[in-house]
């Protein structure tokens, strides 16, 4: 056994030499690649509960331990109740006395190779006493005496307001007396929208390597919030924070999935016990069954018009949060579902309420636009229904009621853009939707160092797959007027010296990007103004030589706090889709799409376009193809063979247009990562209605749904 501490692999490949080539040469390394060349490594496979709700009677690992190559088995009884959670710590690292969903981690096996670990995991004999389950909202609100978290008040993060035992959380936005406002309306409509479960589904499965030999712990992980991972590991493995080094690691896609320490705590404890480095990598079935799913549920919208204006709006959302609240970051334990329907229009009085409940299903988490996807579907569908009821053109209806200049510009561009699409045959329709995206709250510090050979930006945020480091390089090159090749981004992983909120919530470009710009202006304060004639492009080299110093180091800060005057402004978008519907089958084809956005400053044109294109297809995939089927608590679509993601043959032609409203927006960095995906479902539902006159209020939207709707009104082919 070697005691040599492995170097930070990621720092070897953090865009220092040839950042572009790394991506296309196979040299870009992810957490599982660190494992592949770590010597003395043990591989961990988890034993997952087969029961959705049961008392855990016994975990018999004798047979597994007898298998040659198996080194250790760890159970909940071995380590006791260790709870993780982002705002509420209710999720045990390993189940101790009960399991609350099929897929919950019950035990872990460490073996010399992955095949043996998985074989041994299947040999662990777990005895369960099944308990009454709560499978869906009807069960939760039906007659029963099942309380899934009887000790909820004792969880760290629990709030006093806890009206009944299966409530995960509640959220309210009220700005007036909505009943009085409805009484003043001359037209009111109510619609209930229902959405099924979908999965974040990044292609890289969660993976980690943990080496806890000796005093210090080294961690390589696909986790996107290294600072919190380190704090969680310290707390849950009884280690000092300073003992834990979370190395920067590339992440193969996130979409909300990679923020919880599903694997790392147990790997740390197993590494301590075995005195070997330990690795785990989820199977894709484990990904689909145990990591972030979008909350299924329903959203009832009631909206009233008074003399043509939107006078009263009421929303009530009920969401299935699954077995644990742990992977949701918001203190309300409710995803961001309120305030997004009708967000772009003038509404006199709002009354919006949401609740999340516990069930014996996989835990709900933050999937790209965690609540916006559902609420914009509902809101922009109902806006269309109101327009049709009033006999108004849907674009004109929106234009008359929007208060946002950017949305007005977007709608006018869409109207001009779709005009040539019109009159294109029977059963062809066009639908539109407007939407917005706000950067999440957070603060980040970036350290910048100018040397004779280039500028190094040290960042805490990991690259979760959006290509953000390329954006940072471009921002610094522009701010300092130096070649992009002279800027290097160095990821540092978890580090108490650099504040960072991690990747997520569409915050990185706006918050960390602003920190990069701030750091560059501080560099300019130290170095003096740029002079590209000095030093052949990279002018700071000559400047430093004249100053008689080898380098200059500074720190820059970026932050966003929604609601404050200086908060990052929203990005707005609009989408138009043209569809053809086959009345014989209900099948529909999206013939073309036009996405119009009002961007702020576009720091990285390739990355910006990629977020819009990728967001559009992500939304398309979740609007029409994806459905994570869980029946009686059991995952049915348990592989990517059954859980369909959009492939290259599924994407329609997409035109992207930009509109500029006011010169003051040119310089601001805004969020774009969770923009385009939320418009697809409502634009599609509106287009289908336009084509064949039926309204789909459920997600995903399938041909069968359309056919059933046509059949119900006698309009099928």
């Amino acid at each position: 056994m070697t005691s040599e501490r492995r170097p930070s692999r990621s720092s070897e490949t953090t865009h220092r030499d040839d950042p572009d080539q790394e991506w296309v040469s196979g040299r870009r390394r992810f957490a599982a690649d660190i494992a592949a060349d770590t010597s003395e490594l043990l591989h961990v496979a988890f034993v997952l509960s087969t029961e959705p709700h049961a008392r855990l009677l016994d975990v018999d690992a004798d047979a597994a331990l007898a298998l040659p190559g198996v080194v250790a088995v760890m159970t909940g009884a071995d380590i006791g109740l260790r709870l993780f959670g982002r705002s509420l710590r209710d999720y045990p690292v390993l189940a101790v006395d009960r399991v609350l969903f099929a897929g919950q981690r019950v035990a872990a096996v460490a073996a010399e190779d992955p095949e043996t670990a998985h074989r041994a995991a299947r040999m662990v004999d777990v005895s369960y006493e099944p308990l009454s389950p709560l499978y869906d909202l009807e069960d939760v609100f039906g007659e029963h005496d099942v309380e899934l978290h009887p000790g909820a008040q004792g969880y760290e993060g629990a709030t006093d307001d806890h009206p009944f035992g299966n409530l995960q959380g509640a959220d309210v936005v009220v700005d007036g007396d909505v009943d009085a406002a409805f009484a003043e309306c001359d037209h009111v409509r109510e619609d209930t929208f229902v959405f099924d479960r979908v999965h974040s589904a990044p292609l890289e499965p969660h993976a980690c390597v943990v080496d806890a030999r000796g005093e210090h712990v080294s961690v390589w992980s696909s986790n996107k919030v290294p600072n919190r991972l380190r704090a969680d590991l310290a707390l849950l493995a009884d280690r000092a924070v300073g003992d834990i080094h979370v190395h920067p690691t590339n992440i193969g896609g996130d979409f909300g999935s990679k923020a919880a320490p599903y694997l790392e705590v147990v790997c740390l404890l197993l590494s301590e016990r075995t005195q070997r480095p330990v690795a785990a990598r989820m199977t894709y079935t484990e990904m689909l069954g145990t990591t972030a799913v979008r909350h299924p549920g329903r959203l009832r919208l009631r909206t009233g018009l008074r003399q043509g204006r939107i006078h009263a709006h009421e929303a009530e959302a009920i969401l299935d949060g699954g077995a644990f609240a742990a992977i949701k970051p918001r203190a309300t334990r409710v995803v961001s579902i309120l305030g997004h329907a009708y967000a772009n229009y003038e509404v006199c009085v709002r009354d919006e309420r949401a609740m999340t409940v516990y069930s014996n299903n996989p835990p709900g988490g933050h999937v790209r636009s965690p609540g916006e996807f559902q609420s914009v579907f509902a809101g922009e569908s109902q806006v269309d229904l109101l327009a049709r009821t009033c006999g108004e053109d849907p674009i004109a209806f929106r234009l008359r009621r929007t208060t946002v200049p950017e949305v007005r510009g977007i709608l006018e561009e869409l109207r001009a853009g779709v005009q040539p699409w019109g009159g294109d045959g029977p059963d062809v329709g066009v639908g539109v939707a407007t939407f917005g995206c706000r950067a999440g709250n957070g603060e980040s510090v970036v350290a910048a160092r100018a040397t004779s050979s280039g500028v190094v930006l040290r960042v805490g945020v990991p690259d979760q797959g959006s290509g953000m480091y390329a954006t940072f390089r471009l921002l610094a090159a522009q701010a300092l007027e130096i070649p992009r090749e002279a800027v290097h981004v160095e990821a540092i992983g978890a580090d108490e010296t650099l504040t960072d909120a991690g990747a997520g919530s569409s915050r990185v470009t706006a918050v960390v990007g602003s920190a990069c710009i701030d750091a560059c202006s501080r560099l300019l304060e130290e170095l003096g103004p740029p002079d590209p004639d000095e030093g052949g492009g990279y002018w700071p080299a000559a400047r430093l030589e004249r100053m008689g110093t080898p380098e200059v180091s500074v720190e820059g800060v970026g932050r966003n706090r929604r609601g404050e005057a200086a908060a990052v402004k929203p990005t707005y978008g609009g989408l138009a889709l043209q569809v053809t519907v086959d009345r014989m089958t209900g099948q529909f084809v999206i013939r073309r799409a036009m996405l119009v956005v009002a961007p702020g400053r576009i720091a990285n044109p390739v990355g910006f376009r990629g977020q819009l294109e990728g967001g559009f297809v992500y939304g398309l995939s979740q609007a029409v193809l994806e459905r994570l089927v869980v029946e009686q608590g059991q995952l049915v679509t348990a592989s990517l063979g059954d859980y369909k993601l959009a492939c290259i043959g599924d994407v329609p032609p997409l035109e992207i247009r930009h509109v500029r409203v006011g010169a003051e927006t040119e310089g601001e960095l805004r969020a774009v990562g969770e923009l385009a995906n939320i418009g697809v479902a409502p634009a599609l539902a509106n287009a289908i209605d336009d084509a064949v006159g039926v309204r789909i209020r459920t997600l995903p939207i399938t041909g069968e749904d359309v056919w059933q709707a046509l059949r119900s009104v006698g309009q099928e082919g």
């Binding site: 010399e112 894709y284 990728g614 592989s639 063979g641 492939c647 997409l654």
Partner: protein, 162 residues
């Protein structure tokens, strides 16, 4: 990485990977992806879905795109395997890599090895430029990308076809 002697059969196989000949002894249930990644250290080939759907593990076996997650190592005895690490040996593929960078053909990069290998298979057989774009698209149905929406990949292929 060492295996465990639970299976009496640890067959020896010989294969060529990226032009280099290897003779290895592997457990009978080791898959080609495991052989490449764990035994030969070629981690450019990624493991995603492990059911032959996502395409992140695509390699060329005797020129044909193959899911290395579903192929046993013993099945490639005597074969020639090309992985993403081997593409640099073909100057005619350089433009494809550049086009992926410049056209936004990737974001997180996890699927990129499989995409490049699948397209390179067509280019090395000089089929890409004569195929219809529909046929190229169909060829890539088995290479999923969750980030880009495929438009950047399509632009990169269009450049490589020229």
């Amino acid at each position: 990485m060492g295996g465990v002697d639970v299976d009496p059969a640890w067959p020896s196989i010989a294969l060529t990977v990226n032009g280099r000949r290897h003779e290895v002894s592997v457990p009978a249930d080791r898959r080609l992806a495991g052989l490449l990644r764990d035994d030969l250290g070629l981690t450019g080939t990624k493991l995603g879905c492990e059911v032959g759907v996502c395409g992140t593990c695509t390699v060329l076996v005797d020129g044909l795109p193959t899911s290395s997650c579903l192929t046993l190592a013993v099945q490639v005895d005597g074969a020639s395997v090309l992985t993403v690490e081997g593409l640099a040996a073909f100057p005619e593929l350089a433009e494809l890599g550049r086009a992926f960078v410049e056209e936004g053909g990737f974001q997180c990069g996890f699927c990129t090895s499989g995409q490049l290998v699948a397209i390179a298979g067509l280019m090395l057989e000089q089929r890409l430029s004569s195929m219809t774009s529909e046929a190229v698209t169909e060829h890539l149905h088995g290479n999923l990308c969750r980030c880009t929406g495929y438009y950047g990949i399509q632009r990169a292929i269009d450049r490589a076809r020229r």
